[in-house]
Amino acid sequence: MNTVKEFNIGTPLEVTLPPVSRLDLIKYAGASGDFNPIHTIDEEASKAGLPGIIAHGMWTMGNLAKLFTPYYEEVFLKEYSVAFKGMVFLNDVITLQASLLSIQNDQYKFDVFAVNQKDEVVVKGEAILKRF
């Protein structure tokens, strides 16, 4: 089990995902109940004026939160807020990052990001972990 003692200001938590696949988005549609077809069907994406299907914003936001999962015996995610800045397309390689901004009493505040292979920020936000 990981411990929050590992949290250091300036040492980001980071993980790079495998290239986004259609199956990833089909699975997310099924598990979340969000069947908007622009996320899974090419024709519907192009009808909506998109160059191809795009990932659900909530798929990326959901993935991003996994950086904190190993610490849930000591803390819980009290606040998690993001802005969706850019679209995520098939085969994009997304890197998830969280960097500690401050520790105040029992709360750890992080900046969180998801960037694509072109270093474009697709999701940007903040998370606060609260210690028990």
């Binding site: 099924g30 909506a48 909530m58 939160a65 996994k66 998690y80 969706f84």
Partner: protein, 149 residues
């Protein structure tokens, strides 16, 4: 066009956090951690049961706001916030509701954009709040025109 709907809310809907659904969801976000998927790990944890991932409330039924109809295409999810008083637990019952908190329009590059601020809540059956959510949904001018014509 949604101004007159501001403040309206749904009747709360009873939801249950089921392990099978949590397992499928945690796999779908690439996070099949034992705290979400393994019953034994859940039992031994400080929670005495498995957790649901923080973005899991996407799965819940929040009910419908009367006469509030959104097209299912052409909406842009702009922002999303979750606030938790405690983690969401597998096996528990959650009463979920939604409200239109605000609506305003702003000029954007592609014309007038509509911003819907939707608030969602998940409460224990006794009324204690577990989490609140805020969603900013952007409606483009093209979609809004299609709705009124």
């Amino acid at each position: 066009m949604f101004e007159e709907m501001i403040g309206k809310q749904s009747i709360p809907v009873k939801n249950t956090v089921e392990l099978g659904s949590v397992r499928a969801f945690s796999k779908a976000i690439g996070d099949p951690s034992p705290i979400y998927t393994d019953e034994e790990v859940g039992k031994r944890s400080r929670y005495g049961t498995n957790l649901a991932p923080p973005t899991y409330p996407r799965v819940f039924d929040y009910g419908v706001i009367d006469e509030f109809n959104l097209p299912n295409v052409g909406l842009i999810h702009g922002k999303q916030t979750f606030q938790y008083n405690r983690p969401l637990l597998v096996g528990e019952t959650v009463m979920c509701s939604t409200a239109l908190e605000d609506y305003y329009e702003r000029n954007g590059k592609s014309g007038l954009l509509g911003f819907l601020i939707l608030k969602r809540e998940g409460k224990e059956p006794n009324g204690q709040t577990i989490f609140t959510e805020e969603q900013v949904v952007i409606i483009t001018e093209a979609v809004r025109k299609g709705m009124t014509s």
